[in-house]
């Protein structure tokens, strides 16, 4: 019998950090499994290497901080970071991309800030972004789908050569839809024309289903949506961030496309391409690095959507989701400070409400 004096409550919801993380992993599974199937053995190898590296780096950092490694590892947060980073990598990248990313994500972005819950920036996106600016060629080497066991798919031995031997076959690379449109635009070819090149750019339906070039976990908007809805159903996330991100992106895309169709791609294209779905449902919704109040989450989400659109449209990079999330992560503390709910019985400024019998 516990006699230690403590405050209530003496009953708790059946909930834990581990349960939260595991549910998110479960939600990611369909989209990632599909992409591993789509890109074959090299994707699976990179996926395993990235997650294993994250777990290993987590173990080292936690032991270095004299905290029980078993407890920290059992919460599955390192697995989730690894998974999300792997999902944002080109599937045929070499093994050391996963390892290096893990070091930046876990050691630099997470543990240098104090570990779980203390980091300002989304670890997976820090990892991905450092890799992107350091190794731009590898990080934009997309491959066309090579489904497992299909003709032309790399065999197990080929895959080992691709992932661990650095033998990237240069015949299979393809541009992502966002990258293709951007490159064409820089050559003076209007968006209307480049988007019409269905031979190069998969149509929107293919993009939604996921049968396209892209990162290892982001190609299938439908399967990601399925996972996102599962998270909503499980109340792990609320609608505010995903809807906010996608609505802003869609709105910006649509408005500017209407203004100048030759210069700007459509709202649907923005929604279906790149990391929009993965970013909106799984990256921007990261608890630690997003605001805690619902109002704050809406502001944060609108910021992510707007920045992603700006970067995709005007900046040097074709994809802007990771940058947008990181930039808004930096604003999260200040958003939190200005979006605290109104305290019961007090005005927004913290003064007690005036005494009236009417509803305030």
């Amino acid at each position: 019998m516990t006699l230690a004096t403590t405050s209530g409550p003496f009953t708790h919801k059946a909930n834990s950090v581990q349960k939260v993380m595991t549910t998110v992993l479960l939600a990611l599974l369909p989209a990632t499994a599909f992409d591993i199937y789509l890109f074959g053995w090299p994707a699976l190898f990179l996926f395993i290497v990235t997650i294993a590296s994250c777990v290993a780096v987590e173990a080292v950092c936690v032991s270095y901080a004299d905290r029980p490694a078993k407890v920290s590892l059992s919460d599955n947060s390192a697995v989730l970071t690894g998974w999300l980073m792997a999902a944002s990598l080109p599937p045929w990248s070499p093994w050391w991309i996963g390892l290096l990313g893990a070091i930046f994500a876990i050691a630099l972005a997470k543990h240098a800030f104090g570990g779980l819950g203390q980091n300002v920036f989304n670890p997976a996106m820090v990892g991905r972004t450092v890799l992107l600016v350091s190794f731009p060629v590898i990080m934009t080497s997309w491959v066309l789908p090579h489904p497992l066991f299909s003709a032309g798919a790399p065999s197990f031995a080929d895959a080992i050569a691709i992932t661990f031997g650095g033998h990237m076959p240069d015949t299979v690379s393809a541009a992502s839809a966002l990258g293709y449109v951007k490159t064409e635009l820089s050559r003076g070819i209007p968006v209307t024309q480049s988007m019409a090149q269905v031979a190069q750019v998969p149509d929107l339906m293919d993009m939604a289903l996921g049968y396209r070039a892209g990162s290892m976990g982001e190609t299938s908007a439908i399967l990601i949506l399925f996972g996102g809805l599962f998270l909503l159903y499980k109340r792990i996330i609320s609608w505010h961030i995903p809807v906010g991100v996608m609505a802003t992106l869609f709105l910006m895309g649509t408005i500017f496309h209407l203004v100048d169709p030759a210069r700007f791609t459509t709202g649907q294209f923005h929604l279906m391409s790149g990391a929009t779905f993965l970013g909106a449902f799984f990256i921007a919704t990261d608890y630690v690095t997003s605001p805690v109040s619902k109002t704050g989450q809406l502001i944060f989400a609108a910021g992510v959507g707007l920045l992603a659109w700006l970067i995709r449209t005007f900046a040097g990079y074709p994809e802007g989701m990771a940058f947008a999330v990181l930039l808004m992560n930096g604003l999260t503390p200040i958003i939190d400070q200005y979006t605290r709910p109104r305290v019961f019985g007090r005005s927004r400024t913290g003064e007690p409400l005036p005494l009236t019998k009417e509803k305030p």
């Binding site: 834990s16 407890v71 805690v292 007690p352 019998k357």
Partner: protein, 501 residues
């Protein structure tokens, strides 16, 4: 009736089914009753009996002391065997002065005050006096002397008596059973209280998870125009006074004000029944209904027990423990207090005794906060527990106070929902205690400072007066050496200065 939205809240596992269908049973008198002098908020009562005295059932054995206090009565006839320090039902486990009564088995009533035949024709003061002398305190758990709360009508214009039958705490069913079995008594007591308060309307709020109580109470209130039963949504903490007032009337009580400032006074349903007994029969508060429940209790039940019954006897009456309880709780599992042992008496504010197993508590070691924000979403007070707790962890109480930690009602919703099992309420209770201490200290210092300043000014004035007098004397002496003047005495130190010294 139109209801209003209340912010946040949670839906815990209510686990009321263990006792909700068990009729109230009266517990036989134990071999000894332990009646603490303090069972309420305010000053402890003063014993009126000495060791060895023979008392009768309903006899006042301790009288109230001061403006906020309540008397105690003997729950049966017998002999006072001692007045001693006995552990109180308080988390500290500290002892307090307690009258120990050995029943003589005769259960003989004392001559009670006469019933007030028609309470609606007497003035409010008569009812206040009767409620005060009957030792009635808030039976929902707060144990604030009810008579004091009934005088609010003399200071403020009230329009509603809101009777709290929400019983939003998990496990507890004592109010549910009370309403189902004694609906007429509750409603009569409520009408008497409304009369004493000068409130024309009585609303009885019951959570929707008590359909039988709602049906029975509605039926009992059907013929009385001024009384209305309101079924409120199942949303913890609906029974919190301010939140219930908001849900039912839409009025949001300003910080640091009372619901009475908005014209509403809230009383618990069991208090209403006690008032009915006091006014209609002159019977003081000598027993109460306690829900004895939890996974470790062999035969959970709603027990009407004499005030002063040892909790160990109460648990024994319910079959004892089937397994070792991980935690004993006085009250509900959300806002109840941990009980240091079973060796404490049943008091007037004790709504439940829970013997909880580890599975029911479902606590686990604290993990780092992952900023999920659920505590912000569900806080019924609109606070940000995540931010307040991180300030309090660093002992930055000032920042926590700025975020409103003093507005926290300790409902426990944040701790209940936290995936990292952070004892948030524990942090907030700590901060509230420390801030109260700091505030007291500051006020004391401020007072000392003003007194010292006033003292210095007086000394200076006296010195000046002395100097002036001396100068005047000198000049007078120079003019006429025979002249004598009374020596200006320095003013006698005031009481304040003496205190200060």
């Amino acid at each position: 009736m139109k209801l209003f939205q209340v912010r946040g809240g949670i839906h815990p596992d209510y686990r009321k089914e263990g006792t909700s269908e068990k009729p109230i049973v009266s517990m036989p008198l134990p071999t000894a009753l332990y009646i603490p002098l303090q069972q309420h908020i305010g000053a402890p009562a003063e014993a009126l009996v000495a060791e060895g005295a023979l008392v009768k059932k309903g006899q006042m054995i301790a009288r109230s002391q001061g403006a906020v206090s309540a008397p105690q009565h003997a729950a049966t006839s017998g002999r006072i065997s001692a007045i001693a320090q006995i552990p109180a039902p308080h988390p500290s486990g500290l002892s307090q002065l307690t009258i120990i009564l050995e029943p003589d088995g005769k259960d003989e009533w004392v001559e009670l005050p006469p019933p007030i035949a028609d309470p609606f024709t007497v003035d409010a003061h008569t009812i206040h006096l009767r409620v005060a002398e009957s030792g009635i305190v808030g039976m929902g758990g707060a144990a604030f002397p009810s008579a004091v709360k009934l005088t609010l009508g003399t200071q403020k214009k009230l329009d509603t008596l809101l009777l709290n039958g929400a019983e939003c705490e998990p496990y507890l069913t004592c109010d549910d059973r009370l309403m189902r079995e004694y609906a007429d008594e509750v409603i009569d007591g409520a009408r008497i209280m409304a009369h004493a308060l000068g409130a024309p309307r009585v609303l009885i709020a019951i959570e929707q998870n008590k359909p039988d109580a709602i049906a029975i109470m509605t039926k009992a209130a059907a013929s009385i125009a001024a009384v209305e039963v309101v079924s409120v949504p199942v949303q913890y903490p609906m029974g919190s006074e301010r939140h219930l007032v908001q849900a039912v009337t839409g009025r949001e009580t300003p910080a640091r004000k009372l619901t009475a400032d908005l014209g509403v006074v809230v009383h618990n349903v069991a208090t209403a029944r006690a008032v009915h007994h006091a006014v209609r029969f002159g019977r003081p508060l000598i027993s109460r209904i306690v829900t004895v429940s939890g996974g470790a209790i062999r035969d959970p039940n709603n027990v009407e027990a004499a005030i002063g019954t040892k909790v160990s006897d109460l648990v024994e009456f319910c079959g004892g423990f089937s397994v070792r309880p991980e935690r004993l709780v006085n009250g509900g599992p959300m806002m109840g207090q941990p009980l240091p042992s079973l060796d404490v008496p049943v008091v007037k504010g004790m709504s439940g005794i829970l013997g909880l197993t580890a599975d029911e508590i479902n606590d686990s070691p604290t993990n780092p906060c992952i900023r999920c924000g659920t505590c912000v979403t569900i806080c019924p007070c609109g606070l940000s527990p995540v931010d307040m707790s991180s300030f309090i962890r660093k002992d930055n109480l000032e920042s926590a106070a700025k975020l409103g930690v003093m507005d926290c009602v300790s409902c426990g919703s944040c701790s209940w929902v936290c995936p990292s099992h952070i004892p948030l309420v524990h942090y907030f209770n700590y901060a509230k205690g420390m801030l109260n201490d700091l505030d007291r200290e500051k006020r004391k210092n401020d007072r000392v400072k003003t007194l010292v300043e006033a003292h210095m000014i007086r000394i200076e004035k006296a010195a000046e007066a002395k100097k002036a007098a001396l100068a005047a004397k000198k000049s007078a002496t120079a003019a006429s050496p025979a002249a004598t003047e009374p020596h200006p005495a320095s003013p006698a130190p005031t009481a304040e200065e003496k205190v200060n010294a």
